[in-house]
Amino acid sequence: MAAAVETLPAPASLQSVDQVEVEDRARLFASRSIKRAAKLWALELAVRCTDLTSLEGADTPGRTATLCAKALRPDPEDEAVPPVAAVCVYPAQVGEAATRLRGSPVRVAAVATGFPSGQMPRELKIAEAAEVARIADEIDMVMDRGAFLSGRYDAVQEEIAQVKAAIGDRHLKVILETGELGGYDQVRHASWLAMAAGADFIKTSTGKIQPAATLPVAVVMLEAIRDYAWSTGRAVGFKAAGGIRTARQAIGYLVAVNETLGDEWLTPERFRLGASSLLNDVLMQRAKERSGAYQSADDFSQA
């Protein structure tokens, strides 16, 4: 049942990453001065690109319902704030989320394939992905880091391709968990493997281990997406997740995407921010820009 896997391009496209250059670029992206109207525009885009996430053992249908309400109307006092892109939950919460979001533009994303470790027999991972794909619009699968780190790259790709085949036309995001890969070269390699195996999105992290998403890692992945688009013509999306808590960080990612891939990537179809506490900080920044007064977290609902 091995699905067709594109062959890896020539090694030249996987050349080593220049650590100093990448970290310096990331530093510059993070320090751009985005103010006033441009900031309001960026904050609105950040909301539209957010995957509002709750991945806790303590998630209940009630909490998922709250999360969905927040996703549909992030700021109850300001209807100008658009809904987020998607709600991202565990498989057990997908039914509740789908019920709450039916008929809305907010999509349902579910993590699958033994999230967060991915240490599960492959048949079960594929079965899990196929099961949640009956309801969810988007599947966030975890890459098999065990296979990647032991050099079984073909197994990594084969598994991604099989999951892709099992979920049909659902959107597949592949979580690389960059904090476990060991370095920028491996991040670039893993990005390439995932894209070649059919990923619609590549995603930095599960959010369950440290370090999660960092801007330099994002730059490496974005450059891999750019090189892949140049060599194959296929546009792959990027999702940053884990540890993104402030509007300032989010704007740093928007700048990195814009300056590495261009503004065709600045849409929810090609760029996502996975986060839970980020949304409120964005809303607070928005309110600050509009009213001039610094805001209190007490005034914003918990999702």
Binding site: G292, A293, Y294, Q295, S296, A297, D298, D299
Partner: protein, 272 residues
């Protein structure tokens, strides 16, 4: 023979760090360049004070008293330095002594506020209620222009002893004693972020302190009537309190500590 001297750079005290203003600006006070805090310094200080609030308010009042007492010990140990920065001579010495008195007073006050401000209330019913003072939250302190040390530390200590965290604006015209006092807070074991000291231009900083929705109260002891009215207008939007208790020259009083507390009344059945 001359002794080589190292001139000390005047710094703000935000989130437990001695820092220049994020804006990089300074203003001259005599021959010294003093940091001119920006609205973003205020924002950072309030954020740190908010983060420090649960830890500080949940310490035992006794422990808060111990820490304020230690701040006093630090001042005592550096008495001559403070006398010098206050201009030297008898008046400066008296101000340092009065400051020390105030610190010790509020250290002792910390574990007595529940008795001084609380009560057990008789009600017509098979239960009784009792009232306990709780910290209002993040308190902004606007210190008077002069004297530049005692009122500042007195009002900071009064707010701290009840469990509030503090963002204080030191005297604009004589900021050096206030900024030096940050070293007492840092070595006196006041937790990181629980007290911030900022120097800068009142006219620039007060509107942002007053309208900041995360500032629960502002102690306007050093404000003019006009400034106080402006603070009240701004704070009204988020139901912040503007405190005006405590005259600049008054002796330390537990009333000042109680001013930054709010009273919570809960009921309890009798005989259970």
């Amino acid at each position: 023979m001359t002794t080589p001297t190292v001139a000390k750079t005047a710094k703000l005290y935000i989130d437990g760090v001695f820092a220049r203003s994020e804006s990089g600006r300074v203003y001259p006070v005599g021959a010294v360049n003093v940091p001119r805090a920006s609205r973003k310094d205020v924002r950072d200080a309030v954020r740190a004070a908010r983060a420090a609030l649960p830890g500080w308010s949940q310490r035992t009042p006794y422990n808060r008293g111990q820490i304020l007492y230690r701040v006093g010990e630090m001042l005592e140990a550096r008495r001559s330095e403070f006398v010098a920065v206050l201009g030297g001579g008898r008046p400066a010495g008296r101000e340092v002594d009065a400051t020390l008195d105030a610190l010790v007073y509020y250290a002792g006050c910390a574990d007595k506020l529940a008795q001084l401000g609380g009560s057990v209330n008789q009600v017509a019913g098979p239960y009784f209620t009792f009232t306990i003072p709780e910290p209002v939250g993040v308190v902004g302190v606007v210190a008077p222009e002069r004297p530049s040390l005692r009122p500042l530390l007195e009002h900071v200590a009064a707010a701290l002893c009840g469990g509030n965290t503090v963002v204080a604006l030191v005297s604009e015209g004589a900021p050096l004693p206030g900024l030096l006092a940050a070293e007492l807070l840092a070595t006196g074991d006041v937790p990181t972020g629980a007290a911030a000291l900022l120097s800068g231009l009142r006219a620039e900083l007060l509107p942002h302190l007053g309208s900041h929705r995360d500032v629960d109260a502002v102690d306007a002891v050093g404000c003019s009537d006009e400034q106080r009215r402006d603070l009240e207008r701004r704070a009204a939007d988020h139901v912040g309190r503007v405190l005006s208790g405590g005259a600049t020259g008054a002796a330390p009083s537990h009333r000042l500590a109680l001013a930054s507390l709010e009273l919570k009344t809960v009921w309890h059945p009798i005989g259970v």
